[in-house]
Point group: C2
Chain length 152, copies 2
DNA sequence: CTTGAACCTGTAGTTGCTACAGGGATTATG
DNA sequence: CATAATCCCTGTAGCAACTACAGGTTCAAG
């Protein structure tokens, strides 16, 4: 057993950052985390710096930042003397995206509510939900067909 | 040229339903659309029924229903005499999901707004955005780490 | 008959992980 | 020291719902 003091295994790193070992290995593979020390037997060992970095990553992901955005944020956070304008820009851009998704999602909710409320529990033949979905005149698809699964 | 009257090609079907030929072929592959007639040369030809079915599918997708949900809805809409209780259940379930996503997304927006508003444009060193992301005490990850990318 | 647009199949890429299979390493216990 | 339990390794494949080719064929118009 090589002398790597204060070093933890991938399992504890994962536990302490609220993710899974597979995710850590995945982050290493896509170079979001750098290669770390290994024991003689080839097992990964991490220090506190790694814990902090992964914590940052997980928080940013929880905030909905894409992996690419996280990469940028990490690069910036490594340059303490830089102006944080760019950080701000990344965050604002993300906020805008979230706001636009929110708008579309809430429009969708309204449509769904209307649809559901008009169903009278009769037969499929005359079901308002089926009708709405079949309707050729519906306009939602025109505004949304470019990013349908971007709602959710 | 075989006699297939009133038949359209995959391109026009796609155009009329607001999607792409690749998507139509994809739907056929996953058996959301059934195999259709082919010309002698092997090209697909569609009729009005196919247009209606694909319209239905696209609308349901635009409403955010999963492909599996669409499959169910399609099966139901093929049984006009059935009670539409099940249709209603699928739609309501989906509405609930949308509403819960909305809630999480708007909580996220609030967090992001707060974060962005606290950035004073100074240096990265003291950037509030970076600080928030680095913070070990943050609780959002506890509520969200199970479904982070389920926000959007 | 020739041209050009539309179409074909099959495969791989996208995003961000997650889930194995089939092994090896480490650690705790007897 | 032996063994068992637990951890860890690599590599690959899967998820959702498409999208994007490459490399070739067919169709419809002139």
């Amino acid at each position: 057993m090589p002398e790597i003091s204060h070093a933890i295994g991938i399992g504890e790193l994962a536990r302490r950052t609220g993710c899974q070992p597979e995710t850590v290995r995945y982050y290493e593979r896509i170079e979001l985390l750098e290669n770390t020390l290994r024991t003689e037997g080839g097992q990964r060992r991490y220090d506190e710096r790694a814990v902090r970095r992964l914590t940052f990553i997980r928080h940013a992901r929880d905030f909905g930042f894409s992996v690419d955005a996280v990469r940028e944020l990490l690069a910036m956070s490594d340059q303490p003397d830089m102006s944080c304008q760019e950080v701000d820009a990344v965050a604002k851009h993300h906020l805008e995206e979230v706001e636009s998704r929110l708008q579309r999602l809430s429009a969708l909710r309204d449509e769904l509510r209307r649809m559901v409320s008009q169903c009278d529990g009769g037969k499929v033949e005359s079901c308002r939900i089926i009708e709405v979905l079949s309707d050729h005149q519906l306009c939602i698809s025109e505004t949304a067909h470019k990013g349908a699964h971007d709602f959710g």
